[in-house]
């Protein structure tokens, strides 16, 4: 197992290098101009000077190598320094990856955006799991019952209604008509009292509900199908014939076996939490990582787009690995040697 993990980690390094090169190539080939939002009356010479000072005109390989150095050497050093309060090398004047639109270190902005994305997406993810798994199991166990039919109906609606529709609907009902929740997210809100906690719950309520509806739908269908497969297996009949109670059969035997693929699915969805929900963030004005990516693309902020997409790629590689390892732990029959 350990050997397998080490092999996978070693293999991940060239994968990430190739991914970063591909991201660079795509961004280099795609047209884009960091000055495109400036007034049209601005002279072309001034525009050219801005692009020159940003390094926009450097050859693609130079830009990539510079970025590689910053991403794999300077940024990790900076993170180490800020965690342990140390100063490795010339920490004062160390070059960082600089966003073209804000002229600030891209990684700092990403960390600044992380909390709101994690709060909203994380909460909806956890809520989704807590609701979807029991619903999926009960639906399967009582197949074609009223509970199953209603569950199927609700999840079908949840899955097929896009968040840009349910989101706007929620704002109109709960913000405009009822005035219960704000239609925007205040990322500077510090929870330090009952009132601020309530304000935080209020600003999270709508986006979390909308995303949970969507997440629950997919996951509970998946759980239901998986449990249904297992309920008809021989080992379930054996368990029953041994005289075990129904609860024991379902919770011990069926659940353990049918949740294996569900757990894998959940692990593979975790990088998505970090990537943000682009549409939901836009609708509820949560300036998380999804919103950051979209604005960066719109402003042709190449260093920001590169760093963000690379971070997503990194997380996907890592969580794929974690999913594979968890699979091995959950199912003792699986061995990777």
């Amino acid at each position: 197992m350990a050997q397998y993990v080490i092999r996978r980690i070693l293999f991940a390094i060239p994968t990430l290098v190739v991914i970063s090169l591909i991201i660079f190539a795509i961004l280099d080939l795609a047209p884009g101009d960091p000055t495109s939002q400036l007034p049209l009356t601005l002279p072309a010479e001034v525009r050219e000077q801005i692009r020159e000072s940003l390094g926009f005109n450097d050859p693609f390989i130079i830009q990539w190598l510079k970025w590689m150095q910053l991403m794999f050497i300077n940024e990790p050093l900076h993170i180490i320094d800020s965690i342990f309060n140390t100063c490795i090398g010339d920490c004062e004047s160390r070059a960082r990856i600089i966003s073209w639109s804000s002229r600030a270190p891209a990684v700092d902005i990403i960390f600044q955006r992380l909390p709101q994305t994690l709060w909203v997406l994380g909460a909806s993810f956890v809520l989704g799991i807590l609701i979807a798994i029991p619903v999926g199991i009960i639906s399967a166990y009582k197949q074609y019952s009223a509970f199953d039919n209603i569950g199927t109906f609700v999840t079908m609606i949840g899955y097929s209604a896009p968040t840009f529709f349910t989101g706007i609907l929620a704002i109109i009902v709960f913000s405009v008509w009822l005035g219960w929740f704000p239609s925007f997210y205040d990322s500077t809100l510090v929870v330090n009292s009952w009132d601020t906690f309530l304000a935080h719950v209020k600003q999270m309520a709508m986006p979390v509900a909308v995303l949970t509806l969507f997440n629950t739908a997919a996951l509970s269908r998946f759980t239901r199908a998986s449990v249904l497969d297992n309920l008809n297996e021989d080992y379930v009949r054996t368990a029953r014939s041994k005289g075990l109670g129904e609860t024991m059969v379902v919770t011990t035997h069926v659940m353990r076996n049918s949740l294996i693929p569900v757990v894998t699915l959940i692990a593979l969805q975790i990088p998505g939490i970090f990537a943000g929900a682009i549409i939901t963030e836009q609708i509820f004005r949560i300036n998380g990582l999804g919103a950051l990516l979209i604005t960066a693309i719109g402003q042709a902020d190449v260093p920001m787009v590169q760093t963000l997409t690379f971070m997503f790629a990194f997380l996907i590689v890592v969580f794929n690995l974690i999913a594979d390892v968890t699979y091995g732990i959950l199912d003792p029959r699986i061995r990777y040697d």
Binding site: P39, T41, I109, I131, I171, D186, K202, I297
Partner: protein, 608 residues
């Protein structure tokens, strides 16, 4: 039994979560039932604490900063607050609460002193007799927010900072030879050539004064390491940045050294600019939900915006500067086998549009500008036939285009010989069918107007093949995108352009022959329709030499406007306004300012 416990725990958790959810709803219902109004909800949701209670105090009579929090929504959130590194108006606005220029424009387009003691004129000796230099005098006793005095040397530094090529500054100092501090209060700007209109540099929120002490290490290559300075510049304005999160949120607190403090200005103790979402969402926030005080840049279709305003929480204000949505008719041949839209000294004329004012006039007559406004702009636009639309040089000679005249257009086309000779429903000009590529940027308003225009032209036997390009590619000045407006690989374009200041000279220069963008000059230049007229060039040269108080100056501007519009290179459509909304209880805003920062007089704003 162990598994039993697991399941119970699971169920308990699920119940707990469900209970939490409904609990929240209950509390908030009670809350909104007792407080009732939208404004009260805002306070609760943003967590305003002690100073938030001050909002109940009567208007603007108290001491500075007694007014609590003012919440502004800018759907394009500011990236940083240094105007010289801005990537759009969003950043200029964020900086304008902190940094100030020497003079600014009021909503009527009149120049008023900001940091300057008075406006320089030739009479008071501020402007050299030959327009070769201008001397500004700072107000006495001005302090930066850190308590140090503002001197003429800071103005000199702002110029040095911006003209360092490695800074990547977005302000244009090409006509400035030098900026010299004569003493602590006087600073002289010398021009490379006489400037009869000398109020460009250090005027408006695009040219603020930076503090030398703070930015001294930030010029040139150092600009990258100056995040702190760019996010929270030390300024002279009513507020200071306390927290700036790029494209997310900016918070400000009152500047204790602001010169208006003794008079009780500004009223609001803190300002929050919330970014994110889109124009429609922020309009809803202020107008329908009432959870904020100001929403910026509401380019929303009137059928959506008007009902929102009807909800009664706020008002929509519109202000006109010089922005005109117009059609450019390519005077060069965009065909792929020709020198794609290269002017080539006049050797590559458009087969139909070049020097064909009557045909283009017919196309212009067919357009119902009233309808374009009603569908796309509402209060944010008004029909126009001029490319220079604002006071005091508004031409009335082109106004025939204001009334749609399909019959007249058909008759005019028949008269000049553009008839449908092969009976396919499309007219021909010298054997070439009148079928054109018509391109604009991707945007709901533009597409609806594009549809309408194509429909009008169909009624006069002209076919427009509509295309729309992503705004990022359409306004891409790098030459990487073949869709860019400067390359103009199409017959007709539609977009908005406008002057950054109320003086037309710097705007009308765009259409002189030497400003034509083409492959040989890397598509640099603002004469996008490729209009070449010796008469226009000569007239512009005359304008550039005329002093501001010359009574004939406005007449020349009108002539320039009539020349280019009359030639058919440009067909103006809609005079566009800036549109923003304010909550009903905000007072003291006056007219919206389209010539400078919309926050230009924020120190006067109060809550009633």
């Amino acid at each position: 039994m162990k598994r039993w416990q697991w399941l119970s725990l699971f169920a308990a958790l699920a119940l707990f979560v469900a209970a939490c959810g409904s609990g929240t709803v209950d509390t908030t219902t009670d809350g909104s039932a007792t407080t009732g109004t939208g404004a009260a909800t805002t306070d609760a949701t943003t967590g305003t604490t002690a100073d938030g209670t001050a909002t109940t105090q009567p208007t603007g009579t108290g001491e500075a900063g007694s007014g609590g929090e003012f919440i502004a929504f800018q759907w394009q959130g500011p990236s940083q607050a240094n105007a010289y590194l801005s990537t759009g108006t969003k950043d200029l606005l964020a900086g304008s609460l902190v940094l100030e220029p020497l003079a600014e424009f009021d909503p009527a387009g009149q120049l008023v002193p900001a940091l300057a003691a008075e406006l320089p004129t030739q009479e008071n000796g501020g402007i050299a007799a030959d327009f070769s230099s201008i001397t500004w005098t700072l107000q006495e006793g001005l302090l930066w927010s850190d308590g140090t005095p503002v001197t003429a040397d800071d103005v000199v530094f702002s110029w040095e900072y911006c003209t360092n090529p490695e800074t990547g500054c977005v302000a244009d100092f090409a006509t400035v030879e030098s900026v010299v501090a004569d003493d602590d209060l006087n600073v002289t700007i010398t021009f490379t050539e006489p400037q009869p209109y000398p109020f460009t540099h250090f005027v408006t929120y695009t040219y603020p004064i930076l503090q030398r002490a703070q930015f001294t290490d930030c010029a040139g290559a150092g600009a990258d390491a100056c995040t702190e300075q760019n996010f929270a510049p030390i300024g002279t304005g009513p507020y200071m940045v306390t927290d700036l999160r790029p494209e997310d949120i900016v918070t400000y607190e009152i500047n204790p050294n602001y010169r208006g403090i003794a008079e009780g200005k500004p009223f609001f103790g803190s300002i929050t600019i919330e970014g994110g979402g889109d124009a429609e969402a922020v309009a809803r926030s202020v107008l329908e939900i009432g959870e904020g005080d100001y929403a910026w840049n509401l380019q929303v279709a009137p059928e959506i915006l008007e009902p929102m305003e009807g909800a009664g929480n706020g008002v929509v204000l519109a202000a006109f500067a010089s922005n005109v949505e117009h059609l450019n008719f390519n005077q060069t041949d965009p065909a792929e086998d020709a020198d794609r839209s290269d002017f080539a000294g006049g050797a590559n004329p458009h087969p139909v549009f070049f020097d064909n004012p009557d045909l283009i006039r017919a196309l212009s007559m067919a357009i119902n500008r009233e309808e374009l406004v009603a569908v796309g702009y509402g209060a944010g636009g008004t029909p126009t036939c001029n490319i220079w639309p604002s006071e005091p040089a508004i031409s009335t000679n082109m106004d025939a285009c204001l009334t749609q005249d399909i019959e007249g257009a058909n008759a005019l086309l028949d008269e000049i010989g553009a008839v449908d000779s092969d009976g396919d429903g499309v007219r021909e000009w010298e054997g070439i069918p009148l079928e054109f590529d018509f391109v604009t940027s991707t945007n709901a308003v533009r597409q609806s107007n594009q549809d309408l225009i194509a429909d009008y032209w169909e009624q006069i036997g002209v076919v427009a093949n509509m295309r729309n390009e992503d705004a990022g590619l359409f306004f891409d000045g790098t030459n990487a995108s073949d869709a860019s407006i400067w390359k103009f690989f199409a017959d007709i374009q539609m977009f908005t352009n406008g002057s950054t200041g109320p003086d037309p000279q710097g705007y009308m220069v765009q259409y002189i022959t030497s400003q034509i963008p083409e492959s040989t000059n890397a598509y640099a230049g603002g004469n996008i329709p490729r209009y070449a007229s010796e008469e226009y060039d000569a007239l512009w040269a005359q304008l550039s030499g005329m002093s501001l108080d010359d009574p004939a100056r406005n007449e020349v501007v009108i002539q320039l406007n009539d020349l280019i519009v009359g030639s058919g290179a440009i067909v103006p459509l809609v005079y566009r306004a800036s549109v923003s909304a304010f909550a009903n209880d905000i007072q003291g805003v006056g007219d919206l300012n389209a010539w400078d920062s919309e926050y230009w007089n924020i120190e006067e704003w109060t809550r009633g």
